[in-house]
Amino acid sequence: MSHIVATDGLTKRYGKRAVVQNLDLRVPTGCVYGFLGPNGSGKSTTMKMLLSLVQPSSGEVRVMGRPMNRATRRRLLADIGSLIESPPGYAHLTGRENMRLVQRTLGLPEGQVEHAVRTVRMHQQLDKRVRDYSLGMKQRLGIAMALARRPRLLILDEPTNGLDPAGIEEIRELLRRLADAGVTVMVSSHLLGEIDRTATMLGILSGGRLIFQGTRAELLAASTPDVLIDGSEPERANALLQAETGSRLDGASVRVPGLDDKATARAVALLVGAGIGVHGVRRDEQSLEDVFMDLTGGGGL
């Protein structure tokens, strides 16, 4: 699988404080990569390092197979569109004038800029000044500005921040269309629900470290849901299992965390051997949100 973005040991320190630590990102070409993590987990700093806006303290960034650094950034950035932190746009100018600025600065053909505007469905609102735009329109204008250069890679930092549900759905739909058109999209969010259905790959950052990278299915599989045991003597069952497994009473059941299938069988055998009647054994249902909460310590939702 080819990776449009790959980092090795990517680290950023401010003084003694490490904001991003030893990141080994792999963003497959052509995917929508959901970059998740609680606020302050290092997502924006990482994205800035991918764009060479911030220089890493150590480690390497490779974009489209080439190292990204001060010497190469200009050439590589011609193929990367981005929207970092808040949407760009000169408030005293209209949307059309902002797009003309992008066209003049980058020397782009007019048709290319118009195509970007049509992609984000903004052509009706181009003659309003940006200061009169809603946040959703500003985000769409920012994405149009990023798309104008026809990038192979689009890096969007929290593009759904502050949007209402309709605006969030519009951005999701736009990301799907871009991916269908062959653009690799890396999109960050602190809210899993905003991008998990759009992203084909997920990377989860917590405390500056990458704690998971893979598909949605792999994320679910990576977690081991708690086992709930129903039996005749829950208190005695809990007392037998607690020291070894960290179990606890949950109503009339005993909740046992982190048991794989073999360990579950051993626990049941232990209880049956002690003369406790086991009426039922089941795994607790876990949503993707629960997994995300477990992984990130709950800071993101």
Binding site: A78, R100, L101, G107, A146
Partner: protein, 249 residues
């Protein structure tokens, strides 16, 4: 040229044009009002009108005005996500620095053109002076425009580095004050200080400072050469700073 053109597009509906029109015009009008209020006539004709407009303008308002223009030009980049968008484009730091400085320099040149036009208007309308000012004032104006370029680069660099609107303007004011002291002390090193360079250029032919009494080829040449050298050095330094800096959080 695309980057410079784009920078001029950003000036649409900008307050910069108000500064360009009002600051020099106000200087020329203030000079005329002082003369009329004192019950005087411009005894040396166009030379007196020029003196009363350009001398004070060149000491403080010009440098401060360039500071204001640079802050206005950069203010839009420090808002929202514009800085990140600017720096994540496939554009070199040199191109960003040069385009911004070029816009500030052109605005400063426009201020000088307005001053000259205001001097002509005041001379004709307020004092009924005949004809046009002597050609030397046009040539001095060109030299002033050239001397403004390094100040434009310096102020543009300061406004690039400082998010504060007023901070770089305060630096310009203090720089102009320091330049006056250097020029009065006739320090040779003054030629290497951008603010002193515009102070010297605006006072040429006025005798305000020891070496600005006569318009000599030496005075013109040193001003022009210093302007070119300072512009190149300041542009290189600002570009190097921008290249090495991380974008702010």
């Amino acid at each position: 040229m695309g980057a410079v053109h784009a920078e001029f597009l950003k000036l649409k509906r900008s307050l910069a044009w108000t500064v360009v029109a009002l600051l020099p015009a106000a200087m020329a009008v203030a000079g005329a009002v002082n003369t009329i209020a004192a019950g005087q006539q411009p005894e040396d004709g166009w030379h007196t009108v020029w003196l009363r407009s350009a001398v004070f303008y060149g000491l403080f308002p010009l440098a401060t005005g360039i500071g204001i223009l640079a802050s206005l030009v950069w203010r839009v980049e420090h808002r929202g996500g514009n800085w990140n968008a600017l720096m994540s484009g496939p554009v070199s730091s040199l191109r960003i620095v040069a385009a911004k400085a070029a816009v500030v320099a052109v605005l400063a040149a426009a201020m000088q053109a307005v001053l000259l036009a205001a001097v002509i208007a005041v001379g004709r309308l307020a004092f009924a002076l005949p004809g046009m000012p002597p050609a030397r004032y046009f040539w001095i104006s060109l030299l002033i425009m050239l001397a403004c370029v390094p100040v434009a680069v310096l102020q543009s660099g300061l406004s690039m580095l400082m998010r504060s609107f007023a901070g770089p303007i305060a630096v310009a004011f203090l720089g102009a004050a320091a330049a006056v002291v250097m020029l009065m002390a006739e320090l040779p090193a003054a030629v290497l200080v951008p603010y002193a360079l515009i102070g010297r250029a605006t006072q040429l032919g006025t005798g305000t400072f020891g070496d600005t009494g006569a318009i000599t080829p030496w005075a013109v040449a040193t001003t022009a050469i210093a302007a070119v050298v300072l512009t190149a050095a300041l542009t290189a330094a600002t570009t190097a700073v921008l290249n090495r800096r991380d974008t702010r959080a």
